[in-house]
Subunit: 640 residues, 2 copies
């Protein structure tokens, strides 16, 4: 492949350097139980015990193996853009430890290797053997793609062969499938490399078998886990066959990993019925069950979707992994159909609900990403105790931190969708790319100060040759844009969210897209009852929030004047929060003086004090100490 | 005693007849497991098993004995105002069954009698022996007061003697106290009858020992229950000695029963320090932790108080028993100090948060009394599943239904506070009373159509003699009132919430108090963040709500025009909901059309449709089928 992409973006460069310099070494320590004050992971130790190198019991969750898999996958991506011999040596060592634990028949899962192989494959519902296999397979493909080293890939091919020998539609095989999806999309990534029909067939089997009657999970022998009383099998998206599913239900990460795998299989096999199911589920998630930040999963109970338009801001779950999974799903929908809507959602999650999961220093993480925090409530209200008002150093269930790493370390993969005749640019960030577009060649250099500025300059560089379509995304949030080609205004119609310019491109050709990025006060669909009477602020793709450190306590008393939004001022603060554009908007604060001891009183217009509301990017909240935060604030009018 | 009160009120008469005719026979069936479709109670069966009349295991909760106690207490009260030989015969039979189970040493608790007396008194924290004793003692006192029959009273005197022999400050006695208070106030009611210092002393011991170090509960032997992780011993109000307690914390019913007992002891012993603790706790409850309906207990977790101004309307607990307990506490505060504020809270709970607990037909009940209900959320959101959108026929833990009965059956006890020289009238309802006020005698006839009309006519009747103060409460909700004495306007200053008229009263003297009762739009203290931007409606003591059957679905889209409240119209609907005054106020409904698939969009003033909001009394909600309900609705302005 001649394809290569090199990011040199200010915004994402900083995030990715944090991931590489801080996140990866920090998480390696975590995986080896060397983080002072954090819960031990036991992850690497489990592999050494499983291979007989150490003695001991299995530690951590049943899916602990997946933590190093996601870390390794992230390492692989960073090695692609920042070669690092020492890091690669550590990764090779980790792979040695992992592969050493593999059984002669290809089986690999430290929980059952340590606790008794006789019980393996008896609790697919709650024990994550197929989930761990999926993540390790993704790591193996990534590590092979970047380093060319086959050790982990070969081991995973043996594991896949083993799984293929155990599960499938054929007589004598188990009719099971993953309790927690991910293997479906992992097999499709493997298939991208191997083009071995066996891998596609196994992925398709897992997708299609899910939810078929009689329900496999009902027949398992060693079920001892918790079956969600309210959600039942919808928790596992196994309440009915996937082609019949209408609404996004159950555990949000499981759901979105599954949908991503379904989209892969549908695209690769040209399965229109399965694609239609993906469309329905996409619409269910993004039009009825998604927060403005790209957070998904409204309830801590089952870490799950609830029902249409039920989007509480304070008891939200919004797991970092779920928004990451939404990015995966969006990317796969884009591969199937180049609709800007998919990229809009992908961008929404990348800049907001995922990025909020990591502290600016890369060392602390949110598992839950709330849109409204009152620290006292997080402490004293049992129903908000899952909401942490500050990021945590690590988690007993540490799925999120390495997931964030592997996503941002592989941001290159999300910029483009390349078809036979078109180069779709989904994300805007400064980078150089060399890509084959059918028989044409695109060498592209992009300069931009996105997301703080909407101007994107695309220059064709040496190596560009041939005719192809350059499709520049015009985001759904953008009401006005201009486009020039080689300095001349180009009147290009936007189709499906992209401005498409087709020509014989040559080095030196320059396209400048300028996306107007005014401060925009936003409202939610009135059906979202938790946002009734409230507004928030966006600018470009960035969702903003109010923090106590800027606006004082009792943020519920603060109102944004919807008639004064023309007076909003955005200005860049290079020293603040790693460099952010902040927004000031006129508002007022209701005063709670003169109430004496009363809790209730006859209505009177509240006394107020004019204030300037300071909005900061949501992703950066909680980096300046403990305090209240709100994405949605009360709306009001400057005149009483 | 010559004291007697006879209620002939339209409003309460109807409730009390429902209680007597429907509630008492219905609940007797429940206690005997004869309610089709309802969870069996096992209550009476447990007593028969404990006395050897039947064979079997103990059924129901550890505190199941208390259900019949509360029922018996309620029966006693109805016998006072509606003699019924058949009912008294049934009650006598119940008492026979109860007393037959009593042990020779006076002990009585079917759970331990059936399961093994060796374990008795080993888990005061979670097993309710002292709680059941308290309720049975209250029943015994009431039954004796009304019927003069001593069988249950004598049995309870033996039980109290037994308890007194086991618990107390003396060497060799256990230093325990009730995990669930109620015995404290029960002993004080017994003391009112016996004037035996032993009973006062035991009550005082239980109050004062609570929360002392080393904590008794920590030393118990048979603790097997759940210790609330977040609340710890504050769940039991045992986190510190009661005199040091500042905030109302923990399980709301336990808390308020305790405070009621504390208030009794403080008043009887003239203990200023304990009275000060009562004042603090009163203020904590009523000024910071009480809903506008008189509901208390913000969280299902621990059925508990949470923190100041945390009053969510949809996840509220608001147990019927907790509001009843608030009435008990208020009445005892009134006995200590005649402040109208106490009666205001008592009235608030009686007409709203308690009364909502019972269906108009007396046959179904709420355990949880929400201020906002979206039926779909109650079904699909785990954190709202404790909120039932319709009243239930019975409960496995059926504390509330008989508690409602005993409260309303004894409403006579809440009308007056009588001191040496004054007759304080706290509640307004049509009735006749003959009461000693010091050496004077008051024979009073009251006519009123309260709570629908604010005019209250008080006439002194035959038997009135002597000088005393007639103190008529001017409720906190009333901004304007007039008063006439024998037809002449009387300019009487309102002191501590009462208009006090002192004279030598004679038969025929008439005082007319006219309380202006306009429709009043209400707001909450701005610190109540869950009510930000919202208003509700009261008229007189009645809190109103919106129901879907009157106002359509999506009540969160409905706004009340705060600038059109002058156009509010109240009119009485004698056929509706047993006869209620309904209120119509101009408002508008935000329309959710034209949103297409979008969840979020740039702010624009919402399209609206003018509507007339129909408000009905909160206590009567949910009597017309399943649907949404809201006490607090969005506020708005008629001009955009």
């Amino acid at each position: 492949m001649t394809n290569s992409i090199r990011i040199h973006d200010t915004f994402w460069g900083s995030v990715r350097e944090t991931v590489r310099r801080e996140g990866i070494p920090y998480q390696w320590k975590a995986l080896n139980d060397q983080l002072p004050g954090a819960e031990p992971s036991y992850c690497m130790r489990n592999f050494r015990i499983a291979s007989g190198k150490e003695q001991g019991k299995h530690g951590g969750c049943v899916f602990q193996d997946s933590d190093v898999a996601k870390w390794l996958e992230g390492v692989a991506y960073t090695l692609a853009w920042h070669p690092d011999e020492e890091l690669e040596r550590i990764a090779d060592g980790a792979i040695d430890d992992i592969v050493a634990a593999q059984q002669s028949d290809g089986y690999l899962d430290t929980y059952y290797i340590i606790n008794g192989l006789d019980k393996r494959w008896t609790n697919l519902r709650d024990h994550h053997e197929l989930y761990c296999a999926g993540h390790m397979l993704e790591a193996a493909v990534a590590y092979y793609n970047v380093t060319g080293k086959r050790k982990l890939l070969d081991a995973m091919l043996r594991l896949v062969d083993h799984i293929d020998s155990v599960f499938g539609p054929e007589e004598g095989k188990l009719k099971g499938y993953p309790g927690h999806p991910v293997l479906e999309m992992a097999l499709m990534r493997l298939y991208d490399v191997t083009h071995d029909e066996k891998h596609l067939k196994l992925a398709k089997y897992f997708v299609d078998q899910r939810g078929q009657s009689p329900l496999y999970f009902d027949q398992e022998q060693d079920i001892c886990g918790w079956l969600n009383g309210t959600l039942g099998y919808s928790y596992y998206q196994a309440h009915k066959p996937v082609r019949e599913q209408e609404d996004a239900v159950g555990h949000a990460v499981r759901a979105l990993y599954l949908y991503a795998g379904m989209a892969d299989v549908a695209r690769e096999t040209g399965d229109a019925e399965l694609a239609a199911a993906c469309d329905r589920l996409w619409n269910s998630v993004t039009r009825k069950r998604m927060y403005i930040t790209g957070a998904v999963g409204s309830s801590e109970y089952g870490e799950a979707f609830t029902f249409d338009y039920d989007l509480p801001n304070d008891t939200v779950y919004g797991e970092s992994c779920a928004s990451i999974a939404l990015v995966f799903f969006a990317r796969r929908m884009l591969r199937a159909r180049q609709l800007g809507e998919y990229a809009d959602v992908m961008e929404r999650a990348l800049y907001n609900g995922v990025l909020s999961g990591m502290q600016l220093d890369g060392k602390r993480f949110f598992y839950v990403n709330p849109l409204e925090v009152l620290p006292e409530a997080c402490e004293k209200d049992q129903h908000k105790r899952h909401v942490k008002p500050e990021r945590q150093p690590w988690f007993g269930c540490a799925c999120c931190p390495p997931n964030i790493i592997r996503l941002y370390a592989s941001l290159e993969d999300y910029i483009y969708t390349v078809t036979e005749d078109a180069l779709y640019m989904n994300l805007y960030l400064a980078h150089d790319a060399a890509l084959d577009v059918g028989s044409a060649k695109a060498a592209v250099s992009v300069e931009t100060n996105y997301p703080w500025d909407g101007k994107v300059a695309v220059t064709m560089t040496e190596g560009t040759a041939g005719r192809f379509k350059l499709a520049l995304r015009v985001p759904g949030w953008c009401a006005k844009h201009t486009l020039t080609v080689n300095g001349d205004a180009a009147d290009v119609q936007v189709v499906n969210g992209y401005a498409v310019i087709e020509r014989d491109w040559q080095a030196g050709d320059t396209v400048v897209l300028d996306l107007a990025m005014p401060v925009t006060v936003m409202r939610a669909n009135p059906k979202v009852y938790e946002d009734a009477g409230k507004v928030t602020v966006m600018r470009g793709p960035i969702v903003y929030c109010l923090e106590e450190c800027d606006n004082g306590k009792d943020l519920h008393l603060v109102h944004l004047c919807t008639d004064r939004t023309g007076d909003a001022v955005a200005h860049h603060e290079p020293e603040l929060l790693g460099g952010v554009t902040v927004i000031d908007i006129p508002g007022y604060r209701e005063l709670d003086e003169d109430w004496g001891g009363a809790l209730y009183a006859p209505y009177a217009a509240a006394k107020r004090e004019d204030v300037t509301l300071r909005w900061v990017p949501y992703y950066a909240w909680g980096n300046r100490g403990l305090g209240e935060m709100r994405v949605w604030c009360m709306k009001g009018h400057s005149r009483k």
